[in-house]
Symmetry: C2
Subunit: 99 residues, 2 copies
Amino acid sequence: MAAEQQKPRQENAVFVGTKPVMNYVLAVITQFNEGAPEVCIKARGKAISRAVDTAEVVRQRFLPDTVVKNISIGTETVQAEDGSKLNVSTIEITLAKAK
Amino acid sequence: MAAEQQKPRQENAVFVGTKPVMNYVLAVITQFNEGAPEVCIKARGKAISRAVDTAEVVRQRFLPDTVVKNISIGTETVQAEDGSKLNVSTIEITLAKAK
């Protein structure tokens, strides 16, 4: 709604949300094709399972020469609309070219 | 990844499904309290984000002396009801007591 979250925009990152998995798969493949040595797939909350789907589809179907270099999970605190605070889980999956 | 799937039923594993997160949190805590040195939290498909929630709640709220020892993702092929085959993503999060 308001300004997009002002995180320092990371290079070679794909933020997975509620769109179809193939949108994010395409975004990851595009970054590799543009020469990125690795791509970080990030998601929060319910989108986490879609982030794992994205990584798996890229790796198994389109770019078999990529490997899962790292996976980390965490918790972020977000402000709910009523002002209360909510904890939401996060994931970051880093895919890298095997060579 | 294929080797992982061949493991005979693993001890100290919690399979996360569609129940509330706290059910699985309690299952993990119980296993640690019974002396397990590590507990593997497993899930497939949409339950993956709940598995991450489970690990984060255990670690941040109940057992701060546990660490995420390993996270792995994979793909399993399951038979759909009409006989067709579906790929489903999987995750395994291993929590261990920090020494």
